[in-house]
Symmetry: C2
Subunit: 209 residues, 2 copies
Amino acid sequence: MRIAELSRQSGVPVPTIKYYLREGLLPPGELTSPNQASYGEAHLRRLRLIRALIDLGQVPVARVKEILEGLDSDELPLHDQIGRAHRAITPARTPTAGTEERTAAADQVRDLIARRGWKVEPDAPALTTLIETIAALRTLDQNHLADFLDSYADAVEKFTALEVAAVTARTNPDQIAESVVIGTILGETLIASLRLLAQESISADRWKD
Amino acid sequence: MRIAELSRQSGVPVPTIKYYLREGLLPPGELTSPNQASYGEAHLRRLRLIRALIDLGQVPVARVKEILEGLDSDELPLHDQIGRAHRAITPARTPTAGTEERTAAADQVRDLIARRGWKVEPDAPALTTLIETIAALRTLDQNHLADFLDSYADAVEKFTALEVAAVTARTNPDQIAESVVIGTILGETLIASLRLLAQESISADRWKD
DNA sequence: CGTTAATGGATACTGCTACTATCCATCACA
DNA sequence: TGTGATGGATAGTAGCAGTATCCATTAACG
């Protein structure tokens, strides 16, 4: 298929597809003559993945590129694929909380991780975010939320178990990496939306009128 | 205190504070003379809240403004405060999924909500995101994740119960609205970080080396 | 009291991201 | 044979979140 057809089937405007080609998000089509290329199903799939990550996952274009490079570099261990996906959705953070709040929060997180027996690299991107968030909650006089950390972790472990089950159910090993990436990123969007709906419902019960 | 002191205590550069004042995120200080104003504890608290929403919650400045206006307009029902917070963290979505995937996803979501007895406005911002996400998962051949929707909802209800408990534990009614907003937005960051840590840990167990 | 530095307020400028627009020399196809 | 699409290159745009500069005061120190 040619670019116009790819655009029609994906709903992505032709100039945007050209932009993704330029940026290396989408591999070039197969050239049939100096200025004609043909795109296949793989391009369509890839394009849909790109849009899902950008639109639903809010992943910046540059990060999408890194993720896709990971997916394409076959034989990159799954654990590293996950690492890429995590980095893609964790904005770089310059520590902003006060020193004492931050060390207290870091202690709390270290305890939590030890208590649960989690194996986490000390430079995991989510670690900084978690610590900063707890520190911020305390600075904002919201200790009550930060104090529930363990109960939150209980519920969170449920997701993760589910996701591992879902991913390992995939038989084709080629697809596992993609499933992991999609699950990591779109899974978050899914959970966040469900949470908002549940909140809205409870809030309607309690406080409406 | 004057602006330099406010900047020092909050860690926010003076020009940025001026920018927030211009944008109406921060109320003006009390003028003691035509070009001298004094800021109080309330300003410092507000500034910290702004930074938490922007840095940790990834809320755009314009949305932060809406949220704060909600907090300040006393007597706005809690349910509407929550609505504002939800809109602030739910980007506007132009439906992008194919018609049939979207109606199928919409059906699945409607069933889920009915089964759980959730009370959700039909134009809730999270509704579109949820439907689009499920449709995207199916388009990307990830039905296995979309099929777990109910189990996800189980775990999600746990959070929400926790959060309601935490918020209603607040005695001062003035602070409830603020707690609700912070809980909604920073709570999401907290959950997302925990999820990534749990994933990393399981992934290390399963796939490392 | 005089000088230096900071302040409030206004206006202008910047860097970054994610596209859009335009151009042009080919091609495909009717 | 000519009309419209294509690949590839280059340039332009809109929106966001600040930064920078300027200026007429005013505070604070020696």
